[in-house]
């Protein structure tokens, strides 16, 4: 088990390495540079700036320089916001972004799993139809659509919640729901399917033959076994939250780190872009490891083998 854990964690390094190379190359394939603004800078000024930031070097040299700085924790200067370093930009926003992601994750799990269980237990009756309807809405509505609808309905019409900013708990509600919509639906569907499959297993019949109460059978035997496969989709769910968060941040004007992503591409802010990509890639890779390890841990067949 331990060796498995270690191997998986170590594996993140080459993955991130490859991600960084691919991103770097792609980034520099985009024509133009960080100095293309509304007003064109004179050639000489551009050349001097390029030299100053080392942008006139061959690409592999630039990469090595960047990598060297990166592993020391220096994310580089921001090309766009010249009075700040990427480190400070990230530091400012990362807390908010993480908070949004975590809240959406918790909401998705706390709502999705019970929905799936209820649907399975009330199979082909009203709890099933209700839960399935919610799931349908969840998978049919992209997060940006859900965000707009929530803003219009709850923010503007009903005025229950604010629709931009991040200044307090009431600001957290709409963005979290918008981000969690799709994951809730996925988790609910998957949990339901898993529960239905477990219901047909022989050991459920054994549990009933012991004369156990219904609740004991459901909780101890059905839910316990049904949740194990559900863990496997938590990795992709998390990846979804990571990549979806910056859209939500943009729509709701949340001061996280995500809203910089698209603009960074547009303005060719290389170091910011690299930092953001690495951050996201790390989060996804790390969570995949966590999920894999969790799965191996909670299934006794794998833990003790």
């Amino acid at each position: 088990m331990i060796s498995y854990l270690v191997r998986r964690i170590l594996w993140i390094i080459p993955v991130l390495f490859t991600v960084s190379i691919i991103t770097f190359i792609l980034m520099h394939s985009v024509p133009g540079g960080p100095w293309d603004r509304d007003k064109r800078l004179p050639e000489g000024v551009q050349a001097r700036l390029n030299a100053q930031y080392g942008l006139d070097q061959p690409i592999y040299v630039q990469y090595v320089n960047w990598a060297g700085q990166f592993v020391q924790g220096n994310l580089g200067p921001s090309y766009r916001y010249q009075d700040r370093t990427v480190n400070t930009i990230v530091a400012d926003g990362i807390g908010t972004t993480v908070q949004l992601g975590v809240m959406a994750f918790i909401l998705a799990v706390l709502v999705g799993i019970p929905l799936g269980i209820i649907a399975a237990l009330g199979h082909n009756r009203s709890p099933d139809y209700l839960s399935t309807s919610v799931s349908i809405v969840g998978i049919a509505t992209p997060s940006f659509v859900l965000a707009i609808l929530l803003i219009v309905f709850f923010g503007v019409e009903l005025r229950w919640f604010p629709t931009s900013g991040w200044k307090g708990p009431q600001y957290w509600v709409l963005p979290t729901i918008a981000l969690a919509g799709f994951p809730i639906a996925q988790i609910a569907r998957y949990t339901r399917a898993s529960m239905l499959e477990v219901t047909r297993k022989d050991y459920i019949r054994t549990a009933q033959s012991k004369g156990l109460r219904d609740r004991a059978v459901v909780v101890r035997h059905m839910v316990r076994n049904a949740l194990i496969p559900v863990v496997t989709i938590l990795g992709p769910i998390f990846a979804f939250l990571v990549t979806g968060s910056f859209i939500i941040e943009t729509i709701f004007a949340i001061p996280g780190v995500g809203r910089y992503y698209i603009t960074a591409i547009g303005t060719r802010d290389y170091s910011l872009l690299m930092a953001m990509t690495m951050l996201y890639a790390f989060a996804v890779a790390f969570m995949n490891v966590v999920v894999d390890v969790l799965y191996a841990y909670i299934d006794p067949r794998i833990r003790y083998s």
Binding site: Y203, S209, L212, R224
Partner: protein, 369 residues
């Protein structure tokens, strides 16, 4: 046999459940003891006219079609038949474990220890299960929860039905495991099913079935999924324990050898009906039904000529949707005559004591003697 004062009905149920504390106290001081000290009826199990059907998209499958038999206290009864004849469904019906939908018990009466099982509420039935009726299933790998320790899975039933302290329950589990032949039982309490071999897992199943000292054990092909060498051990174990505790056993099997070795009496089932019943001796000495002959004949014998073909019963059992009013074995029977195709025979008496068979040919006055 003693009778209790007056018949026992569902309303009297509390008095039966109250056995539990008595037994529990005894269990704490003595080792696992014999059950059945209080007998509430003549026979432990009386099944009358049981009909269990499955309602499917293709039609109504009459899996158990008017089945009647008895099991005495402490008796071992065999229920023999090929796959699909309804023997497993019979056992599930007794414990009311038939999956509903698509199955349902549509008719009949099941008296267990004087209690009308089919009239019990779900809650009352639940209390019977595990406590008075134990079940051993066929495949111990899939029948045990892979994510719970075996100690827990055995303790579950005990905690539910018997008021024992945690300590006492644990001790009882260790004792049970020892009784079923699992070495170092105390150490293995926290192991998971996948850490046991197939034979060991089945022993755990037996321990679970016996855990609350039931009066009846329903054993549904307990050795079919095991190696031949292990089979003998498991069967021996079941026999030994049932003798020791006076537990009745309904042994369901397709294997005549098992029935011959373990049972006091045998019922042969075919296509949802009982076609022959009797003591083991009479059944195997003079079976009265061509199906039984075919079954016995098909067993390879040690003095068979090598290279000769295996003897089989030609044909397949009929589908149980809309069975005809004719002998169900007729199409495969070499002795069949017109009457076999027109009218279904009843279970009628034969020479031996308690020997009944369902066959026109072997009836007194029939064409086979």
């Amino acid at each position: 046999m003693e009778r209790s004062e007056g018949d026992v009905s569902a309303a009297d149920l509390p008095s039966i459940i109250d056995l539990a504390p008595d037994e529990a106290r005894r269990a704490q001081t003595e080792s696992v003891t014999a059950s059945g000290t209080k007998r509430n009826a003549d026979k432990l199990l009386e099944v009358r006219g049981l009909k269990t059907q499955f309602f499917t998209a293709d039609g109504v499958i009459q899996a158990v079609d008017d089945v009647s038999f008895d099991v005495g206290y402490g008796e071992t009864l065999g229920l023999v038949g090929e796959s699909g004849c309804g023997k497993s469904v019979t056992a599930l019906s007794i414990a009311r474990l038939v999956p509903d939908p698509p199955g349902r018990i549509v008719a009949g009466q099941i008296m267990f220890d004087g209690i009308d099982v089919l009239k019990l509420s779900n809650e009352a039935m639940r209390k019977l299960r595990g406590k008075e009726i134990g079940f051993i299933f066929q495949d111990p790998l899939t029948s045990l929860n892979p994510t719970l320790t075996i100690g827990y899975q055995i303790t579950e039933g005990i905690r539910e039905h018997m008021r024992l302290s945690t300590r006492a329950a644990r001790d009882r589990v260790v004792e049970l495991l020892a009784k079923v032949g699992i070495p170092r039982p105390a150490d293995r309490l926290k192991d998971y099913p996948h850490q046991f071999s197939g034979g060991m897992r089945q022993r755990v199943m037996i321990a679970i079935a016996l855990s609350c000292d039931p009066k009846l054990i329903l054993a549904d092909e307990p050795t079919t999924a095991l190696d031949v060498t292990i089979q003998a051990q498991i069967l021996e174990l079941i026999q030994k324990l049932s003798d020791e505790f006076g537990t009745a056993v309904l042994m369901i099997t397709h294997d005549l050898g098992i029935a011959a070795g373990m049972c006091d009496r045998v019922n042969v089932m075919y296509a949802g009906r009982i076609v022959e019943t009797g003591t083991v001796d009479t059944m195997f000495e003079s079976p009265q039904m061509p199906y039984a002959w075919g079954l016995l004949d098909s067993l390879p014998r040690i003095d068979d000529i090598r290279g000769a073909k295996l003897r089989t019963i030609e044909g397949l059992p009929p589908l149980l949707i809309a069975p005809p009013d004719a002998c169900r074995f007729g199409p495969r029977c070499r002795y069949a005559r017109d009457i076999c195709r027109e009218d279904e025979p009843e279970l009628t008496a034969r020479a031996g004591e308690g020997h009944l068979a369902r066959c026109w040919a072997t009836e007194p006055g029939g064409w086979i003697s």
